[in-house]
Amino acid sequence: MRRQVEGSKAVAETVARCRPTVVAAYPISPQTHIVERLSELVTVGELTSCEYLMVESEFGALSACIGASAAGARTYTATASQGLLFMAEALPNASGLGLPIVMTVANRAIGAPINIWNDHSDALSQRDSGWVQLFASSNQEAVDLHVQAFVLAEQMSLPVMVCMDGFVLTHAMEEIDVPEQDDVDAFLPAFRPRQWLDPDHPVTIGAMVGPDAYTEVKYLMAQRQRRTLDALAEVADRFRGAFGRDSGGLLRPYRTDDAEVVLVVMGSVWGTAADAVDQLRADGVRAGVLGVTCYRPWPGDALHDALSGIANAVVVNRAVATGPGGVLGQDVHVCAPTGTAVREVVMGLGGRPVTRAGLVDLVCDVLDGWEPAGVLDYRDLDERVAQRELAREEALP
């Protein structure tokens, strides 16, 4: 049923309809409303057969989920920013052990300087943790991705992170169709773990693996990641059939077919970019937008195909890397077809809004030859402040 509801609340109610049996979480803005609502649903008895664990930290939250998942429970947690970093030690254990935990990351900048607002630094810092990382372009997709995440996680025996922009989505009140219980039950079968800890049937999960087999284990994990791309596309197809909505999958193209310039974006900027594209098209500029829904595993072949025949791609990075470009941008560079010029900008760090006007200007600058190639352009930087501080630092003895 379509309702006017806050993103966090819709996600919490959707997660509840996925019938997790263990939820362990520690509050951190902007994720807090999600777990507050879940604990409320458990308390009032709307979410039954679920143990809600109040833990002492994010490290405890993920560790509790790992234990519960290994014991055969459908588990869920949520976090953001430094909370995700506090889980970092345990993240590769969840993926390495093949535990199908689902986690919401309400994307937020990481400190220092401390900043509670939205960018993608937190999730992208964990790109090699072995978790599937999905980015929601809207609150509707955030809700839908959670249902798909449980299906995918349990089918592939892999943990899945559903990333949704903090505040921008979590705290927005919008029209959202929260999947009905019967429909979720029909789409998401009861959890049948591949193996689980049971005193009556002892198994070992997480044995030490030495030099004789570690490479093979890692290789097999990488192969499973590759198969996950196909499985994800298939889950999105089935979801479309069951719910009538186009959510999830690998990429989300909009008006890219004959585009001269395509903006490559992740998360909620997609909708703003789609509006920018419509405005540009009305003025005769052939623009398009390509949303990256699945960031890990990286859908390189799909991205290559999606950009084929497109002269200009501009990657909007919402995190900073100290390597040769942005985090998302590096992957796009490697996989873009020859013939597509890839430019990279940084926009929207720490909650600075990425606006329709800003994206329209960006596309125009690319077409007019104003946007530099081969450098990472801090597009919304206050140059005056930055240059003044640089000069001051250089003047220091």
Partner: protein
């Protein structure tokens, strides 16, 4: 058809709730709506901004509104901040929580351009009378509803009922009455001026 509303106030005045109420009322009338908060550091008294987009088409954007048709100012001392009236449409309207007149507020920073006009409403005083607390948001949204005509008063009152589910009946009734009082006051005044 679109209506973009930006609400300025201070933490604790119900700035986010005001945007949510308007979005709920619009949704109930079959329109598409989005309430977006722009949180500061969530301190009581700190300046806070929220946005409400209303449209007859589905809403995709999530960027802040840059050209609102309506700006609501819950605390008139915020008028001194340069950005409160930024981007207000040429024929836009400012709703100010004040017992003074727009002319009297000119020195306090209420400087309008072109065909913009201002409506003052003593929302804190009305709330103090009805509610016993100076919480201006339901009265101010009642005024916005009266001025724009895009959403009816009954839809706003239904939104208040939906949003204030944990409030006591006294508080709920007082807020319903505040929305209605403000709506009628502004409707009469605008009718008289026209």
């Amino acid at each position: 058809m679109t209506l973009d509303v930006r609400i300025h106030g201070r933490g604790g005045q119900g700035v986010v709730t005001a945007a949510e109420l308007l979005s709920l009322a619009a949704f109930d009338q079959g329109l598409h709506a989005q309430a977006l908060p722009s949180f500061g550091s969530e301190r009581t008294g700190a300046p806070v901004v929220s946005y409400c987009r209303i449209d007859d088409k589905p809403i995709r954007a999530h960027d802040p509104l840059d050209a609102p048709q309506v700006v609501v100012v819950q605390d008139p001392t915020l008028l001194r901040a340069a950005d409160v009236l930024d981007g207000l449409a040429e024929d836009g309207v400012v709703v100010v929580n004040s017992a003074r007149t727009p002319a009297e507020l000119a020195d306090a920073g209420l400087r309008l351009e072109g065909h913009q006009h201002a409506v003052c409403l003593p929302a804190s005083e009305l709330a103090r009378e009805r509610l016993g607390r100076p919480l201006p948001n339901t009265a101010l949204i009642g005024a916005v509803v009266a001025l724009t005509g895009i959403v009816g008063l009954p839809a706003l009152q239904e939104a208040i009922r939906q949003r204030f589910t944990t409030a006591t009946d006294d508080v709920l009734q007082a807020n319903l009455q505040l929305a209605s009082d403000a709506h009628d006051l502004v409707s009469e005044r605008e009718h008289h001026d026209a």
